[in-house]
């Protein structure tokens, strides 16, 4: 089995992004909390960045996984020397 790395990685980023976005959204009115970051809701913004990145990776990984599963595996020529890693 070959798993596209973008699927687990994308899911991990999506989960982290979801936690941060929800926390940032809930604490959006808390001015004391965001005084440190100069009034910018860093949790909400960075959470959304992570969410977008994670979802993009997950969707890209899933579509290429589906495409590879439909295609037959490429034939390996007999006696061919395999190079590289």
């Amino acid at each position: 089995m070959s798993l596209d790395l973008r699927i687990p990685m994308g899911l991990m980023f999506t989960l982290t992004g979801l936690i941060l976005t929800v926390f940032g959204f809930v604490t959006n009115s808390d001015a004391a909390l965001y005084a440190k970051s100069l009034g910018i809701n860093a949790n909400l913004w960075w959470g959304m960045v992570l969410l977008a990145f994670g979802l993009t990776m997950y969707l890209m990984g899933r579509s290429s996984q589906k495409r590879l599963e439909k295609e037959p595996p490429p034939p390996v020529e007999e006696g061919e020397v395999r190079r590289g890693h």
Partner: protein, 321 residues
């Protein structure tokens, strides 16, 4: 693949230099007392700042000698700054609850993955390339596995010892580049010759490697960065030359090591018997059959990518010079 990994490497200075510049440019925290009067009561509220933060610059704290509790001073009497703390202090200063946890997790994750990768490499190289090849041949797999595990223990103890030596440097990059000038710079010359010159012999490579490392050591012993005490920073033989910084000393050390290795390896190779070419197929570039030209488009070829990355790196260097 290494070419693709070179692309994020180009933006590395933005990740390491920019936060450092910002951290040193911020106002240095001082112990302040604010006196306010509320309902006739006089309230003194004192904001106490630790000694290392007060003697530092911006958010970069001073290095404190763990034995005496005093700030460590350079040769001109100014406190040494602990640049390694720039990024963690920036995180603590600017990140609110929530993303602060993510930032600290990311820092820890990068430390751990670096540590894990190096420990794995250490025990593999020691067991496989040194112990199995030269010290104890033909033992059982169980024996080698046990040796590998003990090599891990030894490697960790060695790294703890190295950490104590690294305390004397005010940032980890200087330490790292010093080690690289001893180890990697001579090795680079050996690899280049071995891969692209079929006349290179084993004796030449070994003699070059030893000379290169010794040249780096002698260079380190004869030179000293300005405002540093002789010792681990160099100058332990005698101080012939002073460099403006640790990094300048490291780079010149690397140049000396590379050149010494290159010259000695070539000279010794010319004096010793060459290996027959039939034994070098697959090892030397000119004797290795080329893989069939990939049917990719030209912009997907490694050469185009390499040239593009090189041009980008040069452009960035000119822009920020």
């Amino acid at each position: 693949m290494p070419l693709i990994a070179a692309i994020p490497k180009m933006v590395f200075p933005f990740l390491v230099i920019l936060p450092g510049l910002l951290a040193i440019g911020l106002p240095t925290p001082h112990t302040t007392t604010v006196v306010t009067e509320q309902n006739g009561a006089i309230i003194h509220s004192t904001n106490v700042v630790s000694k290392e933060a007060e003697e530092g610059r911006g958010l970069v704290p001073a290095k404190i000698n763990p034995v005496t509790g005093q700030a460590m001073l350079d040769a001109s009497g100014k406190p040494l700054l602990d640049y390694d703390m720039a990024t963690p202090n920036m995180l603590l200063h600017y990140f609110p609850t929530g993303i602060l946890g993510l930032g600290l997790t990311a820092l820890l994750a990068s430390f751990m993955s670096g540590m894990a990768g190096n420990v794995t490499a250490f025990n593999t190289v020691f067991t496989y390339d040194l112990y199995q090849s030269y010290i104890h041949k033909g033992a059982s797999d169980r024996h080698y596995l046990a040796v590998g595990r003990w090599a891990t223990v030894g490697g960790i103890l060695l790294s703890i010892g190295t950490a104590y030596a690294a305390i004397n440097f005010n940032n980890i990059m200087d330490t790292l580049q010093l080690v690289f000038s001893f180890v990697n710079a001579p090795l680079f010359a050996t690899f280049l010759l071995g891969m692209f010159w079929k006349r290179t012999t084993g004796h030449g490579a070994f003699a070059g490697l030893v000379t290169g490392t010794v040249a780096a050591m002698v260079h380190h012993g004869l030179t000293l960065p300005i405002e540093a005490h002789p010792g681990i920073h160099g100058g332990w033989i005698t101080v012939l030359h002073q460099y403006p910084s640790d990094m300048a000393q490291n780079f010149y050390g690397a140049i000396f090591a590379f050149s010494a290795n290159f010259v000695v390896a070539v000279l010794v190779s010319l004096c010793t018997k060459p290996r027959p070419e039939s034994e070098l197929v697959g090892l030397v570039h000119s004797l290795t059959p080329k893989p069939p030209k990939a049917h990719n488009r030209w912009w997907k070829s490694p050469e185009a990518l390499a040239v593009a990355i090189l041009l980008c790196a040069i452009a960035l260097n000119i822009f920020f010079a």
